[in-house]
Amino acid sequence: MSTDEKTIEKLANSEYKYGFVTDIEMESAVKGLNEDTIRYISAKKKEPEWMTEWRLKAYRYWLTMTEPGWQNVRYNPIDYQEIIYFSAPKQKTKLANMDEVDPELIKTFNKLGIPLEEQKLFAGVAVDAVFDSVSVATTYKAKLSEFGIIFCSMSEAIQNHPDMIKKYLGSVVPYTDNFFAALNSAVFSDGSFIFIPKGVVCPMELSTYFRINAENTGQFERTLIIADERASVSYLEGCTAPMRDTNQLHAAVVELIALDDAKIKYSTVQNWYAGDVNGVGGIYNFVTKRGICRGRNSKISWTQVETGSSITWKYPGCILQGDNSIGEFYSVALTNNMQQADTGTKMIHIGKNTRSTIVSKGISAGRSNNTYRGLVKISPNAEGARNYSQCDSLLLGDKCGAHTFPYLEVDNPTATVEHEATTSKIGEDQIFYLNQRGIATEDAVNLIVNGYCKEVFKELPMEFAVEAQRLLSVSLEGSVG
C-alpha cells in the first residue's frame, strides 16, 4: 500500500466527536407504526383534528406505496415496526422561558457548540434546537417578532398559525410525492417554521440544530419556510447523533416557498453519525427537500455540505414557476469508509427566463460510494430558460467510487442547458510536491480538498464556512497517505 493510501485510511478513521449520549428521562411512543401511533403523536402535540386527519390520510397512502429501490445505495431492509416514532425529553409544564429548559439539555447543546442562551450565541444567529422529536428552545423569538417574523417550532405553528399551515404544508412536497415523504407526513414530530412578511429582510441568520439522542428512534422533522413578497432570509440547519451500532432513520421533509421578488438561502451542514470503519451503525438520511419560486424574480439557493450519515439520499430541488426566477444548488458531499451517498438536485423550469446553477463537488475516500444524480427539466413554456451544471468528483485512494447520473429533459427549443463534469484523483505526485515544500500529508490533503470545495464554501454564511472546512478536515482525518 502506498503512503498515500495509508494516510487516506488514517484520516478516515478519526473520532466522531458528537457521538455521546445524553442521559435524560424520556417519554416515548411504543415501537411500531399503526393509526394509533399517529393518533398518539398528534395527541401528544395537542393537535387540532384537521392535522390528525391530514396525518392519517398520509399514512393510509403510505401503506399503498413500496420503498424505492432505484438509488445507487445498498442497505438491509428497514423494519418499520421496529422504530419508535416519537420520543421527547420529559417536561412537566409548558416552558415560560429559557431558564426552565432542562439543564441537561442546555448542557447537551453547549457540548455540541450550540449555546441556547441568547447572549452566548454567534452574533446574529437565532437557533431552534430540536432534540429527538421535539423543539426544546427557540432563541431570539421576541426580537424577530418585532419585524413580524415568525420563527418557531412546527408544533407551535400548528397551534398558533393554522391558516398558514393549512395553506402551505404539503404544497411543495405533497404526501403523495414519495415513500419517505408520505411516512414523514404521517409521523412528523417537530421542526422549524419560518415566515418572513412582505418587504422584510431578516436581520439575522436563522438556524435549526437537530439532535438525535434516543435509541431506535426515527427522526422525522418537518421544516416550512415562507418568504412573502420582497422578503429575504438565510437559514442554516445542522445535525448530529450519538454513535450507535444500529442504524437510525432520519426522514425529513423541507419545503420552501418564495413569493414575488423573495429570496431564500438554505444552507445545510449535515454531520449525522456515519457509522464506523466497517459500516456498522450510522444514520440513514432519507430526506425530501424542495423549494418553489412561486413569484416573479424570486430566488432559492441550496447549499449543502454533507459529511455524515451512513447513507444519504436526497435531492434538494427548485421548482422555478415565477418568470425570471432563479434556482441554485451548491453541494459538497464527502463519503468515507463504507458511507454511501446518492445526492444531487432537481431544477424544474416552468416560468420564462428562469435560470438555474448547479455546482456539485463529490469527494470519495475509503471504500465509500458517492453518486451525483440530478434532473434539469425545461418545460414547454419555459422560454429562454438557462441551466449551468458542473459536477466534479474527487477520488482519494483506489477503493472508492464516484458516479454521475445527470438527467436532462428539455422541451423548449429556446433553452440553454450546459453540463460539465470532471473526475480527478488526489495524486501521489501532488502530495509529494506539497510534502517537499514542508507540508505534511494530512494538511496537504486538506489544502487540496478545501481548494476543490472553495466554490461551494463561499456560498455558506461566514461562520459556517469556517465550520464546514473544519468538519471536512475532521471527516477526512485518517483517510490519506
Binding site: 505526485d429 509529494f432 510536491y433 517537499q436 515544500r437 514542508g438 507540508i439 494538511d443 478545501n450 481548494g451
Partner: protein, 272 residues
C-alpha cells in the same frame, strides 16, 4: 579550489551539509544507484551531469524522500541528521529543497496560499514565529520583484495552466521565498528557451547570493545552464555511480566531447 584528484578529501566531515556514502537504490528490482559517494559543504555549488538514464533524477528524488524506491545500502547525513529516516516534509523543513523537473499542478489552491502554508510550516519547525498575511505579502512582493515573477501567477492555482517556463520560474520563486540550506535543481533547465533559462539562473544566483551557508546541487544534462550558474564542482553520474569529478572545466569537456568517452571508460563486462 582543491585539485580534482583530491576532491572532497580535504573537507571536514563536521562542517559538511550533505554527506552521501555508498548509496545504493533500486526501483522495481532494478538497481539504479550503485554506491554513490557525494559531499556538499555549506556555500558550494555542485553540478551533477550525465547521460539520460544514468540515475540523476533518481538521486534527486531519493534525497527529497519520494516513495517507491528501495534503499539497499548507504547513509545520507544532512545537517547532522540521518536524512533517510526523515519524512519528506521534515527534510523540507530541515532546509532541503527540490526544484522539480516536472512541477505538479494543483488546482484549487492559489500559489500564495500554498507558499504561505509551506513557509509557515518550515518556520514553525524551526521554532520561528509564523508570518501573518501582511508580512507574507510584503515578503512575496519583494521576492516577486527579485525573480521577475508575474503577479497574476501568484493568485492562480499552483502551476495550473502555467507554461513550461512559468512552472520553472515558479519553482525558483518558491526557492527564493523559502530560502532553504540546500537547493537541488532537477533538470530545471530542460525545455526552457534561452531567455527563460537566464531568468531561472538569475533567480538561483539571487537565492545563493554570496552566502557561505546556502548550497546548490544542479542536476543537468547540458552544460548551457552552467554558463549562468557557475559550479564549484562538476560530477559525472553514469550507470548509477559518480565516475568522474572535477572543476567547472569538466563541464566544458563534456560539452565538447559528449558522454561517449565516459561510457567507453566505464564499459561494463557484458552481462551473463
Amino acid at each position: 579550489m582543491p585539485e580534482n584528484s583530491k576532491l572532497n578529501l580535504d573537507r571536514g566531515y563536521k562542517t559538511m551539509l550533505l554527506s552521501v556514502k555508498d548509496l545504493s537504490v533500486s526501483i522495481d528490482n532494478k538497481e539504479i544507484l550503485r554506491g554513490i559517494n557525494f559531499q556538499v559543504n555549506p556555500g558550494e555549488i555542485h553540478a551533477i551531469m550525465g547521460p539520460n538514464g544514468s540515475g540523476k533524477s533518481t538521486f534527486a528524488s531519493v534525497l527529497a524522500g519520494r516513495t517507491g524506491y528501495i534503499i539497499n545500502s548507504g547513509e545520507v547525513i544532512f545537517g547532522g541528521k540521518n536524512l533517510l529516516e526523515l519524512s519528506p516534509e521534515d527534510r523540507a523543513r530541515e532546509g532541503l529543497f527540490l526544484a522539480f523537473q516536472y512541477p505538479v499542478e494543483i488546482p484549487g489552491i492559489s500559489n500564495a496560499t500554498f507558499l504561505k502554508t509551506a513557509l509557515n510550516e518550515i518556520r514553525k519547525y524551526k521554532g520561528e514565529e509564523e508570518l501573518d498575511a501582511m508580512e507574507f505579502l510584503a515578503l512575496m512582493k519583494e521576492k516577486m520583484k527579485l525573480v521577475g515573477m508575474d503577479s497574476a501567477l501568484i493568485s492562480r492555482p499552483v502551476n495550473h495552466g502555467f507554461s513550461g517556463g512559468e512552472k520553472k520560474r515558479n519553482e525558483v520563486f518558491q526557492l527564493t521565498v523559502l530560502e532553504p540550506r540546500l537547493a537541488i535543481l532537477d533538470e530545471t533547465d530542460s525545455g526552457l528557451d534561452i531567455d527563460a533559462l537566464k531568468i531561472v539562473a538569475n533567480g538561483v544566483n539571487l537565492y545563493k547570493g554570496d552566502s557561505r551557508e546556502k548550497s546548490v546541487v544542479l542536476v543537468t544534462h547540458y552544460q548551457r545552464l552552467l554558463d549562468y550558474i557557475v559550479p564549484d564542482f562538476v560530477h559525472v553520474l553514469y550507470n548509477g555511480r559518480i565516475v568522474k569529478s572535477g572543476g567547472k572545466e569538466l563541464a566544458f569537456e563534456l560539452e565538447e566531447k559528449g558522454y561517449d568517452w565516459i561510457k567507453e571508460e566505464n564499459k561494463e563486462p557484458a552481462a551473463v
